[in-house]
Symmetry: C2
Subunit: 199 residues, 2 copies
DNA sequence: CAATGAATACTGACTGGTCAGTTCTATCCC
DNA sequence: GGGATAGAACTGACCAGTCAGTATTCATTG
């Protein structure tokens, strides 16, 4: 049982290192050295390298999901909700850029244990997107939005845009602004328009 | 100098295998076996495993860029251009799903030769996005669009959305439709609106 | 056209290094 | 004291990359 302080240090170090290089470029010796723990200690808390890798991702994603759900609880207005949620995501990944890289370095299938791991990843990622989808749905139900796409699909689009923005934040306009701007851009495509159609 | 038939086979096999697993999970023995060439032959055409990996990506990306540039030559209307370009991207990656995975499995920096490689990747990726950006710019200059974001930024957003869509095509509405729908959704956020503002 | 030989393309067994994972003893600190 | 930990030393698997030898191609010559 013991304190999980060591486990936490290992996770933090691993997060940083795994984000700075590919899986095979990061050695456990490196991790335990930089974390200031013995190599054996890693194996006290994690099954193997692969497990450690996934724990890094999953614990990080859990934090994000938790934070997103708060937004859903606290906000009623769809537009505001979408903007707040977007800002939340961006803030989170900005703070933990290492995790961002890691999270979106899409790794691959696999029907074994690794498959289960990606299953878990998928669940959490979905949970995050669901927050966006819920706000969109809210907007549609209250007839503020009209959409040719499902809320889930739109949620994914938002996710994709935020990801692109994060990857190139230097090209995005001032500071905390851009996530809101991006969401508004998309949102205004959801608003019903009386006059001319797009195409 | 002989035909590069073998080189091509190696590239094709490598594309498939690299897309199906992470870099360290794919062995050269596997590649040369499935490609039906001797291991040494790989080294006749490629410097090393890393080089092979990048060649797969770069040659693929080159094809896509070429295809995108055609769209720019052939289309004048911004809206139509964006839609066509989006469809082109999606078609391409649909045909070569392996490449899609590979392309967007963002690998990591590195100041050595690997850095140069990512430089090249970046150039080509930029070239692809530039096609979108050019159409957006065209729309802005002709005063059809008004945007709070730069054409480059918007191009990235489009890229992000298409990527999300491709990753989950099953959730997207009917067949070849969705790229156009997605672009129109964003485009309608670019059209000037007389009445109420979004926020 | 066949024979010759040189150049080039190719093969796959082998090697050396790397590293995940284990074990064990000395040490820490609760 | 006793459980947790450090970390050195070890092992065994694995695999990128090599290279000596074989096959193929092609130009040259009688």
């Amino acid at each position: 049982m013991g304190c999980k302080r060591k486990a936490k240090r290992i996770l933090q170090t691993a997060e940083r290192l795994f984000a700075s290089g590919r899986f095979h470029e990061v050695t456990l010796d490196q991790i335990c050295q930089e974390a200031g723990v013995g190599k054996g200690t890693i194996y006290r808390y994690f099954d193997d390298k692969e497990d450690l890798y996934f724990q890094v991702i999953l614990t990080g994603l859990d934090e994000l999901v938790e934070s997103m759900r708060q937004v859903r609880e606290q906000v009623d207005d769809p537009g505001e909700g979408l903007r707040k949620a977007a800002c939340r995501v961006v803030e989170f990944y900005r703070k933990r850029h290492a995790l961002f890289r890691l999270m979106h370095t899409e790794q691959i299938r696999g029907s074994d244990r690794k498959g289960q791991m990606w299953q878990k990843w998928h669940t959490r990622h979905q949970a995050m997107l669901d927050v966006f989808a819920d706000f969109v749905r809210m907007g549609i139900e209250s007839e503020r939005y009209t959409a040719r796409l499902s809320p889930e699909a739109i949620a994914r689009l938002i996710g994709g845009m935020l990801r692109s923005g994060l990857r190139n934040e230097d090209e995005m306009p001032g500071g905390d602004e851009w996530p809101a701007v991006v969401v508004e851009l998309l949102e205004s495509g959801l608003l019903p328009r009386e006059n001319g159609e797009t195409s």
